[in-house]
Symmetry: C2
Subunit: 385 residues, 2 copies
């Protein structure tokens, strides 16, 4: 056993490993697990590519603001910082401060929308796969649920979701993550606008735009639904986050935009002071750092190019992504793939699709993506992908 | 006008001002406002004594942990740090992790208790004056409300609250802030224990122990109701905060303790990840810094001694306090007092009692309390208090 492992490591290290030395003909047995660390990944930087975080982190200006707030005001209630952030968001989005609901991450905006519509006896209309918290909150609050699978091409099936909403025959909360997590796909703006503008007012639309910035920068046909809020539609809540392009997942800051009436209503379902001084100060500084914002988008695009080139080279099918992650084929079970990646210090996503054999990989920095694609190519040499 | 102001300033500065030179016979007119800055307060450190914060701030170890978390993990979801904090709280309180509900400040625990009992159709039984958020959340969620005034000595009138709860004839949420804010008084443990242990299960007790640490250290007859949770009472939620003795009001960390069943139930009414990496890391480090904890309590006691000595010297009646604030007479309207204190760079509380003429002063550091009591004594020289 030892000599075989040493042999494989030596081969991996010398880059002359061929498929014939791999595990052709099936998954390796458990006894092989010790052999799954590739030589060039020994002592390499660990990669966290499983939670759609931003590996590059937040704006240096935001970090400085956060530290300053920590030093000077960690013991003071953060109301003033929160008000300043609310104003900055309102200015950025072109709405009144009363149209801005702040959340402890955008997940809290989702919670607020769920709680507000639970009180109305709404049924949740949800896609699968999609970000699971709306469904989870709804279950906890006893709400009925209708789940509509995405289409074979992984795009959100809004026709069937619309049909399900109409069939519910009462108030519904329609959860649309756009771009969708974990598929990375968008709903064309024209289709979505047509649906919302023609829907009855007891159909509440929760548009989770956590990945808005990437799609808006990259994808023709994608648009935020914010203009519909501005046009006065009460049955619409847009949710945004500082966790993605702004790199602040650890600081828990998100927001919702809705008409003043709807924002006030969902605001009834939260604690009053739900951001801390550090999160609020960092978010405010982030909004002012346009240079960082542009760099953050650019780094994501570069990382995505590196990844897509490797996937294409390896013939691993992928779903077109408007986000900071890509859903792609791995020619393996997710369980085996995940275990092997972990053996090499790389955390990748869990299984998220009906069909086993797809992984949602979060885009790290461009450098991290090179390390990841090198690993992926070495996996191919062993016929692991 | 100018010369009169100059005269008064000169007198205040030389410490020989007498009551005859003050504003005997009533409140000064608005035209006097310019004269309200005492010479020795010119350029003095501003004091924030209005929100019951901890002027000394948090543990240096907590600050270091918070900065480390900020640097290393601001872009990563904080689940692991939150789990570690939950475990540390469970260990400290001697309960299972499932008995710990985390909150974005203890105010979120109050919200969760309100939302959970709103679903049951509960009436809120509240004291006045007390911390107002339970009532405020309840109003937003459409809950009926019964308000019971404190007794003439400012202690919580639990007999009348019990009578109100029984008269409600259905589920109730009984909000007991103990020690009470803004009175600083405690409910004797024996009385409270007797009430809770004999109450029907549809009477839910929310015991807000935000000021627990001060009372436990200082006041005979005060006890946490935590043992009743451990004995298995389902209709009881204890709430605690890191905003007071731990000096972390800006970082929004609080927790609730209840039976596993009740903790799970109130946990349904929150976002899943409701602390950020900085707050969770700082709170965890705070719990481990016993030296800081002891110093924090000691500083509060010293500040309180300084304040009480001055109040006694000036003959300003005060309510015995088991907290980090004191409710005391000011021989003035709160509005005039607040304005004059503000003119001297000192923020004091708003009006909180039925009878005008009482102020709730938060205890700053011992040094801050000396500056405050010097100001108070100078106010007496002008017959402002």
């Amino acid at each position: 056993m030892w000599s075989r492992r040493a042999l494989l490591k030596s081969i991996a290290g010398s880059s002359i490993m061929t498929a014939t030395l791999g595990t052709a003909g099936g998954l390796p047995s458990v006894a092989w697990a010790d052999d799954e660390l590739l030589d060039f990944r020994k002592g390499a930087k660990q990669l966290q590519l499983h939670f759609n975080e931003n590996s590059a982190g937040m704006s240096p200006r935001a970090l400085a603001a956060a530290k300053n707030a920590m030093d000077s005001a960690h013991n003071r209630y953060p109301d003033a910082a929160i008000s300043a952030l609310r104003q900055a968001i309102a200015d950025k989005e072109g709405v009144s401060t009363s149209s801005v609901a702040l959340g402890n991450g955008s997940t809290e905006i989702l919670y607020m929308a769920v709680a507000a519509t639970a009180q109305q006896g709404a049924t949740i209309i949800d896609a699968t796969p999609t970000f699971g918290e709306v469904r989870s909150f709804g279950k906890r609050l006893g709400m009925p649920l209708q789940i509509v699978p995405v289409r074979p091409d992984f795009t959100t099936d809004i026709e069937n979701m619309k049909a399900a909403a109409e069939k519910a025959n009462g108030p519904v909360l329609i959860n649309l993550c756009n771009p969708n997590n974990p598929t990375g796909t968008i709903i064309p703006a024209s289709d979505l606008t047509a649906w919302i503008t023609n829907a009855p007012l007891n159909h509440t639309f929760l548009i989770d735009e956590a990945y808005f910035d990437y799609a808006a920068a990259e994808t023709v046909g994608y648009e935020s639904m914010l203009p519909l809020v501005k046009s006065g539609r009460e049955n619409l809540i847009i949710s945004r986050t500082f966790s993605k392009v702004y790199g602040m997942a650890g600081l828990r800051v998100g927001y919702g935009i809705a008409t003043e009436k709807t924002a006030k209503h969902i605001g009834d379902f939260t604690n009053i002071v739900n951001l801390n001084i550090v999160g609020a100060s960092a978010a405010l500084a982030s909004l002012k750092d346009e240079v960082f914002y542009a760099l953050s988008l650019k780094a994501n695009q570069r990382a995505k190019s590196t990844l897509l080139a490797a996937l294409n080279e390896l013939g691993l099918d992928h779903v077109p992504s408007s986000t900071n992650f890509v859903l792609h084929r791995i020619n393996s079970t997710v369980a085996a793939y995940k275990r092997r990646m972990l053996a090499n210090g790389i955390q990748v996503g869990r299984r998220m699709t009906d069909e086993d054999g797809w992984n949602r990989i979060s885009l790290g920095t461009p450098t991290e993506m090179l390390a990841f694609t090198d690993t992926l190519k070495a996996f191919r040499m062993r016929e692991w992908v």
